[in-house]
Subunit: 195 residues, 2 copies
Amino acid sequence: MTTERRTPTVTYYTATTLDGFLADQNDSLDWLLRQDQDKRGPQNYDDFIEKIGAIVMGSTTYAWILAHLERTGEPWFYSQPSWVMSTRDLPRFPGADIRFAAGSVADVYADLRAAAGESGIWVIGGGDLAGQFADAGLLDEVIVSIAPVTLGAGRPLLPRRLDLRLVETAASGAFVTARFDVVGPLQEDRAPTGD
Amino acid sequence: MTTERRTPTVTYYTATTLDGFLADQNDSLDWLLRQDQDKRGPQNYDDFIEKIGAIVMGSTTYAWILAHLERTGEPWFYSQPSWVMSTRDLPRFPGADIRFAAGSVADVYADLRAAAGESGIWVIGGGDLAGQFADAGLLDEVIVSIAPVTLGAGRPLLPRRLDLRLVETAASGAFVTARFDVVGPLQEDRAPTGD
């Protein structure tokens, strides 16, 4: 595995609690949505999404978005083509460019890459999907907004043993933002190199 | 619960992985000890320990330190009086000022406070002990050095539902450092106030 960027770059961009949870055990994001955001701050969403050409998410994330949109009446969030990794039969949100895929992330990556062109690929989550991209050597970077909250339990940020490399960090509103390159499997877990 | 600082300030100062683990399931800290440190950087240990007058740790943390010192032949780390919260019978490390305590953290806090005077109290860990101080309304701040590592499983940073408030953050060597005030139980978990 290498830290050289391939094109397009594959980024896991997400918010997390300080103790590494994406959501609590009831999938509530209340703890997140009430935090002060700096919408023009470091690693802000508008700057990020502008560079994204294709999106991929797991079925739980998609189901959460569907429930959220049904509750609020908002339209679909993303103009980019969005892949939903699922073996489940899920409804297609009206007006959304969604493709369902049940294969491996390596299979889906070919389609994501073709759609993204020179733009980036965003792995929305959940954590295990980001982990599957890392397992396949296809995850380039992790950008997190760390909320000033602990939950103690919930959906894990990235349930893998990985080495990252800090690239930049800053305060942004109530959050710590940090961008990491993905180095690869945790050092002691790696197979010895042959040199 | 309030965020006004009492004297002495009670601080949970620790390293963690990005996904909120203090150690892996085998209590290994290899992932931590090989990271680049900036020993003069923000929230560095030397500046921190200078302001500490009393220390408290759980029995697993103490057992880890004992094993580490036996393996390396190093002397005891701390000049400050150090409480070990334990119902287990544990050996006393030679030359260390250690007091064993089996009561509640509120009981031990009186002794810590008397020993610390105007200096601070350091809760070394583990996470549940820090959580017990938070439960008792006795944890003022959390200072973390976030290593560029995910472990996916291990000993949890702070297994509670808590609101914190970011005070400062910076890069320091391979780490993100961040200091938070403890606000209290997570907002939706709090009892309604009477006003």
